[in-house]
Amino acid sequence: MEILGIFGIFVLVPLIGSVIAYLFRKYAVAVAAIFAAVPSIALYPFYDTNVSRIINIGVKLNLTLDPTTWFFMLMLDTLAFSALLFAIPYIKKAQGNFATLILVALAGANGVLMARDFLSLYIFWEMMSWATYLLILRKSGEYARRYLLFGVLSAYFIIMGIGIVYYYTGSFLYSATTGIPMSGWFWILLFLVLGFGVKMAVVPLHVWAPYAYCAEQPFVAFLSGGLSKLGTFGILMAMYSIAGISILQGFGTFRGVSLFGYPFALLGAITAFIGTVLAIFQDDLRKLLAYSSIGQLGYVMVGLGLGTSLALGGAIFHAFNHAFFKSLLFLGAGAVIYRTGKYKISEMGGLGYKMPFTFLFVLFAIFALAGIPITSGFISKWMLYEAAIAKKFVFIAPLMLIASVGAFLYCFRILYGVFLGQLSEEHKDVKEAPAPMLAAMFILMLPLVIFSIVPGWILGWISKILVSMGLKPLEYSTFAYYSPIGNANMLIMWIAFMLLFMVSMIIFMMKKARVVDQLDNYLAGEAPTQVQLHAAHNFYKPLKDTWAPVLKYSINRAYEKFSQFFVEGFKEIRKMYTENPQDYAAYMGIAFLIFVLVGWWLL
Amino acid sequence: MKAIEIFKELGIEYEEMKVKGNSTPRYRAKVEPDKLEEIIKKFKTQGFKHFVALSCVDWIKEGNMELIYHLFSYDTLEDVFLSIYLPRDEPKYKTLRHLFPQIETYEREVHEMFGVEFEGNDRLGEFILEDWNDMPPMRKDFDTVKYVKEKYESVPLVEGRGDKQ
């Protein structure tokens, strides 16, 4: 039973699975799905336990499974299972390679979640990053290089943080962090938060995300839904479990919020705004979802920064919702790309009539993303707003509110451009997505519905996490949730909505309606032409024209200019090697002279 | 440069037309079809930059079709009508749309209404009349009243008319 402890189930099983799955060539992804199912099922018996285990593989790795890890692992494993289930018909070439890498990434992610010392954290973090890099490499080297660059940057930040901790405490354990002066804490937290922030694509460090999300859709669903939550988990652990609320308050507080956390909250609000605005103008479906993912993670960053129990609870709940509705969106996009082979929104159109189930799943994910109350997406946004308004933050709250209104715009662009509007000739015979894809999407939709009717369950798990981190628990009942300045009851809202829906259904059913072909449309009396009249090309042109002066500045181009600067610099230095020996002799002489002078001056 | 001087230079006999109530001088000249392009180029370079219209007259008795190219000059404020005569049974002429772009539209209309062929103009198909399968309607031998009687009067009334009014 020794091996089958938490380390065995959650890390060894996926690793062994990755090896076995590779042997099954064509059915590798299916076998991998089974192996991914084991940890997600094995999770339930560990519900409210606090199991910990020390694994000695030359170096001591101590892993524990407490409510926080359990919550994040619930997200990650269900996502991995549904991504693999989705991938069975999707991945056509090199299935073995795909299956192994996904399972290695899953093992790494589980390891990071369970790690309770910096060494094991770093080992599993690197395992997960490498697996992700290779998975993006399957699609295109250029995108993978960008991801690798930022992955290495985040690894360096984390190592810096670990180094400072080791310098002060001499040990890698999370718990053994006593006697570190405040200035030390500042640098540790800064490096750790930035390191994990890269994975969460916070604005200045988000450049890799739109490219990395253009890889294969099932992996991208797991990457953007699941792996970005590792960044959230890292920041959560660094700020609230390693450092603890007292040290954070030690940096000085501004109306109850630590001065260290407030700038990150502001950065999160700006990320939400910029992510949403950029997402509105994208025509490529994957890029649009990437920028919208950056925007939604901006909300989570705000909650983590504010740090009050309501804000943190909202952030964790929003991370949970984002994990499910964002991967549902990516899977929906994957189903559409699988069937039509197109990425541009303006080239698709009218697929909702041919792929009704995919359309309904994506519609529900859009409702969750926009925060419509009949989905659980609303509750997390509500908690974040209440936290910001209760503390009277006049910069964060407007940015978040206007970003959520902006979310409606790109939500409708996806719905109209891809699923509604006119069905073009070439998509006439598009069939519905295959069964495993629909099953995977259904799994992801379930929690969004259940927790919108009965928010009490998940709020219970979250307040357990908050209590374990030394914060006040949330005020909630099974159907309602309360905040210092307001409350909301979901059951009453659901019942009222159902009753009123029946009222409008009665009025609606009085007369029958005759179905009419899509070309029998009022075009000023003109004939149905073969010209494609799908109005999704350059959809928000007026808005783009008014935003043009602001859109000129782009962070991508800033990075390119920055790297160009270095390239020019190195070109100059390269000129030093002039291939004729006299110059080299001259250089040696000068160098010797400098050494002599410096040595003389030092003595 | 005055229209009269151009005519003398090219050696074309022209005729001054007196139109009551219209003071701008107007000249008419009958030209050989193959020399027309040169003449129009000449006029165009000498100030007649505005191509006003291409019209067609169906001389059914003489058995030919007359194409009239109407030019106007802003410098000397003069109108010039250059006309050529084509045989009526199968009138054919080459396109001049490379001189003035709008000539193409006029050629399409003349083709549809009079049946004059313009080689080199690839857009001569259906232009104004939709689903028209009779002879070109503006030709003098097209009898409109017979056409109307045979096409429209013959359509029966739908009974059940509310003749109770």
């Binding site: 109209y416 300045i485 809202m493 009123l500 | -």
Partner: protein, 322 residues
């Protein structure tokens, strides 16, 4: 909550909602009459909209494109009725005890999204352009409106409408405490109700009435009920936020009479707010969508920001706690 109590409450809510829709239709009729008189015309009778809705619902044949097309009337009407149920009318707090301003803000989005879905499914390019304009307009007027809501929530330190009403009763009406925000809210209201100069999404001349291009018969009838409901919704929102929701007599002391009097005061207040919008509507031409966006993100946003600053200073520095 005994069963009888629930039954009484639900019939009262049903009565208030039905009255709200009727008032909405009456207001649209009055608006047509007022606009006609401004243009020196006789204008239709006030009950004209009731006849129009009756005619539309009684149409013999109805055209629909596909099953998504039915979303528009169903979601629109259900959504607007749900939003009205969360708004206290004349002091009678229907469901506003169990849901606050932010929940209401997102419930108002349900009919907008359902309507956009249905018109998108009509495969008409006019509808697509119309909905794009509607969403761009929404983004533009939401900026000042959210700042105004923020100012109110910060100043009255509550997000729940029922407590907001009580605080306005005890302390001072919103328009007295935050006049600048009230001005910004009224300008934003013009955009919310899609009155000229902001009826860009349903412009009949440019895009053949935008999203409504393929709706006829019972679909258009239900959408007309939706627009009637949204007229009452938006005017009541303004009255509840800034004019004390028409609560003049305290229901605890006067009982049922208070509810009736409050209802009449509330009716008068929303009529005044509606007339302001109608007068502006009668004399303005239509903006282009870029002009509307630039306009809303320039002056009303500045006014709303000043209102927010005023609320922030009053509540945090001067310590004015209503």
């Amino acid at each position: 909550m005994s069963i009888v109590n629930i039954l009484i409450q639900s019939t009262l809510v049903a009565l208030y909602l039905f009255l709200a829709i009727c008032i909405g239709l009456l207001f649209m009729g009055i608006a047509r009459k007022v606009t006609a008189r401004i243009q020196n015309r006789v204008g239709p009778p006030i009950y004209q909209n009731f006849i129009d809705v009756g005619k539309l619902l009684a149409k013999k044949t109805n055209i629909k494109h596909n099953w998504i097309f039915d979303f528009a009337p169903l979601f629109a009407l259900a959504g607007v009725l749900l939003a009205l149920a969360y708004l206290p009318m004349g002091g009678y707090k229907m469901l506003s005890g169990t849901g606050d301003l932010i929940l209401l803000l997102y419930i108002i989005a349900i009919p907008a999204l359902g309507f956009a879905l249905g018109s998108g499914a009509s495969a008409n390019p006019n509808a697509g352009v119309g909905v794009m304009r509607a969403l761009t307009l929404m983004l533009s007027y939401e900026m000042p409106f959210l700042l105004v809501l923020l100012a109110l929530m910060i100043f009255y330190n509550t997000a729940s409408l029922s407590t907001l009403l009580e605080k306005q009763m005890s302390f001072a009406w919103g328009i007295v405490a935050l006049p600048i925000s009230a001005l910004a809210a009224d300008i934003a209201l013009q955009g919310m109700m899609m009155e000229k100069p902001f009826d860009i999404p349903i412009a009949p001349h440019e895009i053949a009435s935008g999203p409504l291009v393929e709706f006829g018969g019972k679909y258009l009838g239900m959408l007309m009920l939706y627009s009637a409901g949204s007229v009452v919704l938006e005017t009541t929102l303004f009255v509840d936020l800034f004019l004390g929701g028409g609560v003049v007599l305290n229901p605890a002391t006067y009982g049922v009479v208070a509810y009736v009097v409050n209802y009449l005061v509330w009716f008068a207040l929303i009529f005044v707010v509606w007339m302001i919008a109608v007068f502006i509507n009668a004399v303005f031409p239509r903006f282009r969508i870029e002009q509307a966006f630039k306009f809303y993100w320039k002056w009303p946003t500045v006014i709303a920001a000043i209102g927010l600053a005023q609320a922030y200073i009053m509540s945090v520095f001067l310590g004015v706690i209503p």
